[in-house]
């Protein structure tokens, strides 16, 4: 009775799949695999929201995947993600196909919301270049207007004395050691 009411709800929900592909796939093959995935999603009735093309990155730890009945270890992989909207029943089909695919090292399916605000370099006051330029230009120029190169050179030559480098210490140590023996 209760199970029927829960299973009958079949709504459009927003999902996000992130994955790691095998590092042996070279540049274009990883993108082709993404296109295959997108065709699968479209055939099951999904509409896309956003995505990122897979790029090669180093993994934080070693991962193992069974390929051709052997355990193969991965330290690098192509990481990418797709965000889309789909009916809740057909997401299980995607889950099964990704599980059986041997070139997908790991994947994660997540339910999310549509909008997303992430802090980019332009928005953050510290990382953006505008903030640093304002500070540097004002203070540095004020300080160095009153200083001349000629006067600084005179001051330096007057205060310092030139010394010759003489390795006196080495001879003393050798004599001391001989006496002790």
């Amino acid at each position: 009775m209760q199970n029927e009411s829960i299973m009958s709800e079949n709504e459009n929900m927003i999902y996000e799949i992130s994955f790691i592909f095998d590092n042996k796939l070279e540049g274009k093959k990883a993108e082709e695999k993404l296109v295959n995935l997108k065709e699968l999603i479209a055939s099951n009735g999904g509409s896309f929201i956003s995505e990122e093309t897979p790029y090669k990155r180093e993994l934080a730890y070693e991962m193992v995947r069974v390929q051709n009945n052997k355990n193969i270890r991965f330290n690098e992989g192509y990481f990418g993600w797709v965000k889309f909207e789909m009916l809740s029943e057909s997401i299980l089909v995607l889950d099964k196909t990704l599980k059986l695919d041997e070139e997908v090292v790991r994947y994660l399916i997540v339910k999310t919301e549509r909008g997303n605000n992430i802090l980019t370099r332009d928005q953050s006051p510290i990382l953006s270049n505008n903030f640093t330029n304002i500070l540097v230009n004002e203070t540095v120029s004020e300080r160095f207007e009153s200083v001349n190169i000629d006067t600084t050179n005179e001051v330096i030559s007057e205060t310092t004395e030139e010394k010759e480098f003489s390795p006196k210490i080495e001879n003393q140590n050798l004599e001391d050691l001989k006496e002790k023996e």
């Binding site: 992130s18 790691i20 934080a60 992989g77 994660l108 997303n116 605000n117 992430i118 802090l119 928005q123």
Partner: protein, 67 residues
């Protein structure tokens, strides 16, 4: 005492497990999640970043144990 506000509320951003630049502010050098007294987050956001860090660890973006 704690005059600093919630980091996510101040900058008006959402929590995302792929955004490791912001998530790495809430872990210690060994890779462990910091507690709420150090992060100054609200209870709800503390739970969501804990979940996001665990997802990032599963996908290989953050380590489980470092050094």
């Amino acid at each position: 005492m704690n005059k600093r506000e919630d980091y996510f509320k101040e900058n008006n951003i959402t929590v995302d497990y792929k955004d490791i630049n912001t998530l790495s502010k809430f872990i210690n050098p060994h890779g462990r999640i910091l507690n709420h007294r150090k992060t100054n987050l609200s209870a709800k956001n503390q739970r969501t970043i804990a979940n996001a860090i665990k997802r990032a660890r599963f996908m290989g973006l953050l380590p489980y144990v470092a050094r």
